[in-house]
């Protein structure tokens, strides 16, 4: 037998041995991945608001606005001397990547910031259903119910029979259009548009004045914010919610989806975006806008602080206008919210902390840190572009028009949306095919 053949035989024998070792493992249930992640305790909080006596330490894990969280904790501890809160800050990407492992481990924090993966965790009982607290603490009175309804994970509460609740918001976000007042005037644009058609006229006017009309950071999330903002005006809000929540039979393949996608393409054909929109991230497009590179910019309230600092009175904000002047204000947004782990030993203390987040005192801290407090009436009125945002937010809340971001529809949706809108902007995909790719992903995720 030649040497190389011999070697080959030996290799095959070795591979067979390895396979023989592995195959029996497959039959063994204990080795099935995920079998150790059983939920130990109850799946819902108690219905009383009693806070335990004695010293309690709550661990809070979060990824957004560390300064705000520190201030909130300090204020909370002052009012609750028995409870100390230990903040554990992680960067957003670390947080989201490890969320599932963290929340299913024995060392899970008592309280954790709500993020996309929470829906699955809630499904499997790793997050406590807070619906009993919603009634006991009367949260519907202290914050707009619409912001709580974002946190139901599309489920019914086993404890109350009503909607479930898997988090309490501390500060909301909202997307919309910023505009450069000087450049707008230069293009003959007088004030925020009242209808979508008027906004299109303004974009055209900016183009005619040899300015770049609209800044879009489509390399990252800017493109999907634009698409969602248009979709919000065209698609009935309830249908949109059904789609994001995964309600059976919901679809994005409808006329509103087509029209919104066609608008994104049409504006690109008319050169309303910066030529390099697909190669520009959200942060870069915001910096370009601040330098005066475009008349409008699609972004969210999280950019308001920076823009107010760099542009002062020269920047304004309006939510994407509806099809006609009387249309409700609808905009995508989500809350920096906190959920409670099913593994916590102190659901009472955690409830007290979450209830504190709905108080006027917490609202002021949230507002001071540049976020929209869930209870805007209770805080001092902000100025400048922050006032524009607060006003837009007030209108959206009044119209029940804060919808969640479209990528919450499925874990993989973010990538489909981002690359899909990039193709729309580059005019490389038919709107119908783009929607089809989204719906495919939706159906795969919501198959069961």
């Amino acid at each position: 037998m030649p040497k190389s053949t011999q070697r080959l035989c030996r290799r095959i024998a070795r591979a067979a041995c390895a396979l023989a070792l592995v195959l029996p493992l497959a039959a063994c249930d204990a080795l099935t991945p995920g079998s150790t992640a059983a939920v130990p305790g109850p799946r819902s909080v108690p219905s009383s608001t009693a806070v335990p006596e004695g010293d309690v330490t709550l661990r809070v894990q979060f990824a957004d606005a560390p300064l705000m969280v520190d201030a909130l904790i300090a204020a909370f501890e002052k009012g609750h001397p028995g409870i100390s809160v230990e903040p554990q800050y992680k960067t957003f990407s670390d947080y989201v990547q490890n969320l599932k492992l963290t929340m299913t481990s024995d060392s899970a924090p008592d309280i954790a910031q709500y993020a996309v993966g929470m829906t699955d965790l809630a499904q499997d009982g790793h997050i406590l259903d807070l619906a009993p607290y919603r009634e006991a603490y009367g949260w519907d009175e202290s914050i707009p119910p619409v912001s709580l309804d974002q946190l139901t994970a599309g489920r019914k509460s086993e404890a109350t029979g009503g909607r479930a609740l898997f988090g309490v918001p501390a500060g909301l976000s909202m997307t919309g259009i910023y505009y450069n007042k000087e450049l707008a005037e230069q293009a003959g644009i007088k004030g925020p548009p009242r209808t979508l058609a008027e906004f299109e006229e303004q974009l055209a006017a900016a183009k005619d004045a040899d300015l770049t009309p609209l800044g879009v950071g489509a390399l990252t999330e800017g493109g999907l914010h634009l698409w969602a903002a248009l979709l919000n005006q065209l698609m009935p809000t309830d249908d949109y919610w059904d789609w994001v929540n995964g309600t059976k039979g919901a679809t994005i393949e409808n006329q509103a989806g087509i029209t919104a996608s066609e608008l994104v393409v049409e504006w690109s054909r008319k050169d309303y975006y910066h030529e390099s929109a697909n190669g520009t991230g959200q942060i870069d497009s915001t910096a370009q806008f601040a330098k005066g590179d475009s008349v409008f910019l699609i972004n969210g309230n999280w950019a308001a602080g920076q823009l107010a600092t760099t542009m002062g009175d020269n920047v304004g904000f309006f939510p994407m206008p509806g099809e006609n002047a009387g249309a409700p204000t609808v905009a995508s947004g989500f809350s920096v919210a906190y959920a409670v782990s099913s593994r916590t030993e102190h659901p009472g203390a955690a409830g007290a902390f979450l209830d504190f987040l709905t108080s006027p005192e917490a609202g002021q801290i949230i507002s001071d840190n540049g976020f929209l407090p869930p209870n805007p009436e209770a805080v001092a009125k902000p100025e400048g572009v922050l006032a524009d945002i607060a006003e837009g937010h007030r209108r959206a809340i009044a119209d029940d028009g804060i919808t969640t971001f479209p990528d919450f529809a499925a874990p993989a949706m973010l990538d489909r949306l981002r690359s899909g809108v990039q193709k729309l902007i580059a005019d490389r995909v038919e709107p119908a095919d783009y929607l089809d790719s989204l719906q495919d992903e939706w159906e795969e995720h919501h198959a069961e």
Partner: protein, 299 residues
């Protein structure tokens, strides 16, 4: 008196030969614990549909079937193969050219050259990615350079352009790996007996002839190493793509490594991610085997 053979026939084991294995044991255990077992575990996970949290479901080879059918996954493998050109072929060609230029005579300042060309290899790839994202930006150095020479029509946001993005990302790899190839080849050339060059010159060989007949044959081993390292870098690429384009625009620069990461960590499809990782691993092993086979038969 029958005499015993003085030497054991090759291939049989004498007593005491097992001692050699004892010396290998510690390294072998570490290798098994941190390389072999995780690899087998990955292969095992690839047979499940598992979201990383809840009970997984046995699907056999279903994940592999899905890989073959998914157009995005197939596209990503194609992109990785395109990257091989920029991560492997171009750097090796450049490395050889530079070696040809630098190796013929000793020149002053060789240390400085080596330092400069090796520098990209030392910088963390994430930092490289961020730097190039700026260079390729709208007002970045690349576009500024084009504008300076009057080529305003060429400028674009390179990483956001459907036709240019993959090439732009590939050239970052070229930048990183050319220095490595050159270093490998330069050190290989130093083994060559100087008298060979002298002989070649006496026979009237010019620089090209000298390179082809003397330098190149002596670099076969280094070529195999360079090819292996750079091809693996291309097929398993992740950091540069993740930082510069995150797979965009569209799926123009999506590579398998990026998809493994996305599927496992943000999309909750750990089984599918493991299957893709296994396929990618096998593909890399096959190509590396091929490269080594080719470089061996020539000896």
């Amino acid at each position: 008196m029958p005499s015993r053979p003085p030497v054991r026939p090759p291939g049989t084991r004498g007593r005491g030969a097992w001692r050699g294995y004892v010396y290998v044991l510690p390294a072998f255990l570490v290798y098994v614990a941190f390389a072999v077992l995780p690899a087998l575990h990955t292969a095992y996970l690839s047979l499940f549909e598992w979201d990383g949290v809840t009970l997984g479901e046995w699907v056999g080879l279903g994940n592999y079937q899905e890989i073959l059918q998914d157009s995005v996954l197939r596209r990503s493998v194609f992109n990785a193969l395109v990257l091989v050109v920029f991560f492997s072929f171009v750097p090796i060609a450049l490395g050889l050219a530079m070696t040809g230029l630098l190796a013929r005579y000793r020149r002053p300042g060789m240390g400085a050259y080596r330092f400069l060309f090796m520098l990209p290899q030392v910088i963390p790839l994430v930092a490289v990615g961020v730097t190039w994202r700026w260079l390729y930006g709208d007002d970045g150095l690349v576009n500024q350079a084009f504008r300076t020479v009057g080529l305003d029509g060429v400028t674009r946001a390179w990483l956001g352009d459907f036709d240019a993005a993959l090439v732009a990302v590939g050239l970052v790899g070229t930048w990183v790996l050319s220095g490595l190839c050159m270093m490998l080849f330069l050190s290989g050339v130093q083994k060559v007996d100087p008298s060979l060059y002298e002989a070649a010159r006496l026979d009237g060989a010019g620089p090209v002839r000298e390179f082809v007949s003397v330098t190149l044959p002596h670099l076969r081993g280094e070529l195999a190493v360079a090819m292996t390292v750079t091809t693996v870098a291309a097929l398993a690429s992740f950091d540069i793509v993740y930082v510069t384009t995150n797979g965009g625009p569209g799926e123009q620069t999506t590579v398998p490594g990026l998809l493994v990461y996305r599927l496992a960590f943000s999309e909750g499809k750990v089984g599918l991610a493991a299957a893709l990782a296994v396929v990618l691993g096998c593909l890399i092993l096959a190509i590396v085997y091929l490269i080594n086979r080719l470089s061996r038969t020539e000896t």
